[in-house]
């Protein structure tokens, strides 16, 4: 069974609020959450893209996930609110600090571009207003083929009745076009009390027009697919991937090959991608330098 994830928890400047949200998420059984930084470019003045604060500076000790003996995993995500095509700068170095990259387009043209062209992981569908455009089948199919996912957040629906109508209407019209595939459900909860448990979210998705199976995938495996997509984005076209092991060089370890389980997981992720894309061979090598151990993973296309 795949683990549950909530890929949109807004970053709150107040530490104790943030802490209580993270603790509640762990208590409800979410294994991974993504702290969301929103960037809204305006035409008048140039703005700084926010930089993510490392999670160990925000919270001293991450809470344990309900039912598992592992602390919760916290990622960083950037959402760009786009009202103009110039707002998204591909290959901006600032984007590289984030684990996930999302855009929220406000016009049909931008939506089309986001689905077909931009190198992103998540497209947010606005939930707090009437949909400014209709969803067309072609760009949505393009997005599904590229592995980009659509996000529906439910906390606006919890807040008040008008938002609930917009959320359900927008979500249903999205599901009609994408047939329930590659959709993720996330909270966007400003307070700890706006989070909901994974099973409740799954059942809530029935109102959004998802079937049982699709709804469960929307909180688990589609989120994982989005994370894997993000990993390939961060590498050189998903072909070569280098990482530095956190520890010092290994000293006569027994298996020797994978020092940290973290690295091993990444290697396996990449292998999965390689199989999916029908690459022929995946090779992993390591080089020992004075500054630490480097692993090289080379995938022959």
């Amino acid at each position: 069974m795949a683990v549950f994830m909530d890929l949109n928890v807004p970053f709150l400047p107040d530490r104790s609020d943030l802490r209580s949200v993270v603790e509640t998420a762990a208590h409800l059984g979410f294994s991974t959450i993504a702290l969301n930084y929103v960037f809204e470019p305006t035409a008048k003045k140039k703005q700084e893209i926010p930089t993510p604060t490392p999670i160990n500076e925000l919270i001293d000790q991450l809470p344990m996930v309900q039912g598992r003996s592992r602390p919760i995993r916290v990622l960083n995500r950037l959402t760009v609110l786009m009202s103009d095509a110039s707002h998204f700068r591909p290959n901006a170095p600032e984007y590289r600090c984030f684990d996930l990259l999302a855009v929220q387009p406000t016009s049909e043209k931008l939506f089309h571009a986001a689905c077909m062209v931009y190198d992103i992981d998540i497209i947010c569908v606005p939930m707090t207003e009437k949909l400014p455009f209709f969803f067309k089948r072609a760009p949505i199919n393009g997005a599904i083929d590229r592995g980009v996912v659509f996000e529906v957040s439910y906390s606006a629906a919890i807040r008040d009745s008008t938002m609930r109508r917009y959320t359900i209407a927008n979500a249903v019209s999205l599901m009609e076009s994408c047939k329930g595939k590659s959709v993720i459900l996330s909270s966007a909860a400003q307070k700890a009390l706006e989070l909901r448990g994974p099973y409740d979210v799954t059942n809530l998705a029935l109102l959004f027009g998802l079937s049982d199976g699709d709804a469960k995938e929307a909180v688990s495996s589609t989120c994982r697919a989005a994370l894997l997509h993000a990993e390939t984005r961060r590498t050189a076209s998903g072909i070569i991937y280098t990482t530095r092991s956190q520890r010092e060089a290994p000293q006569g370890s027994e298996d020797g090959r994978f020092e940290s389980s973290h690295l091993y997981r990444r290697y396996r992720c990449l292998c999965c991608v390689a199989i999916e894309l029908q690459w022929n061979k995946v090779m992993m090598s390591e080089s020992n330098t004075p500054s630490g151990l480097y692993y090289w993973i080379v995938i022959y296309a």
């Binding site: 209580s20 509640t24 208590h27 409800l28 344990m64 309900q66 039912g67 439910y154 629906a157 919890i158 009745s161 609930r164 700890a192 009390l193 706006e194 989070l195 909901r196 448990g197 099973y199 409740d200 979210v201 059942n203 809530l204 029935l206 109102l207």
Partner: protein
């Protein structure tokens, strides 16, 4: 003989301040659920909710609630539960949310699950204990919960958990 089938939802009431849980009673939860269903699903929902819906059990210490819904429409009624944001009781409004832990066909399966769940909670609590005495108490509570002495253990277990949490 065919029995009337129901679904039992085992829910946990999550509040920010745990002492407020003691204010809860069956009636308040029933009213809150009915109001949420009527708000989300209108008259149809309210009608479905009036058939065999009841609050079977409430543990005010741990905030565990059993809800009984008729089987044919439990999904519809369940989909209204996330929209509960507060429960009004004794003139106070408690901001809270319901988190569904388990859906069962009989009370017995829910009870089995609840015992397992509460044991898990005690395990989570163990590293947080401050003094050795508290630790011993939690350990004893963990050992005492089993299914053979089901009803008593069940009561004891949830009671002791409530106490532990108050101590912290």
């Amino acid at each position: 003989m065919v029995r009337l089938k129901s679904r039992y939802l085992l829910c946990e009431v999550n509040v920010s301040d745990r002492s407020q849980l003691l204010l809860l009673d069956d009636r308040a939860i029933m009213v809150a659920v009915k109001a949420a269903v009527a708000r989300t699903h209108g008259d149809y929902g309210a009608a479905m909710c009036s058939i065999r819906f009841c609050v079977k059990y409430l543990n005010a210490h741990t905030g565990i609630v059993f809800l009984r819904f008729p089987k044919r429409c439990y999904k519809l009624l369940w989909s209204a539960l996330p929209f509960i944001t507060s429960i009004e009781t004794r003139g106070q409004k408690i901001p809270c949310f319901l988190n569904c832990l388990h859906v069962g066909g009989t009370i017995r399966t829910c009870q089995k699950f609840l015992i397992r769940y509460n044991t898990q909670q005690l395990h989570r609590m163990l590293p947080k204990c401050k003094s050795e005495e508290e630790k011993q108490q939690v350990r004893k509570a963990i050992l005492s919960c089993s299914l053979t002495e089901s009803k008593e253990a069940f009561e004891e277990d949830s009671e002791s958990e409530g106490e532990e949490e108050e101590e912290e």
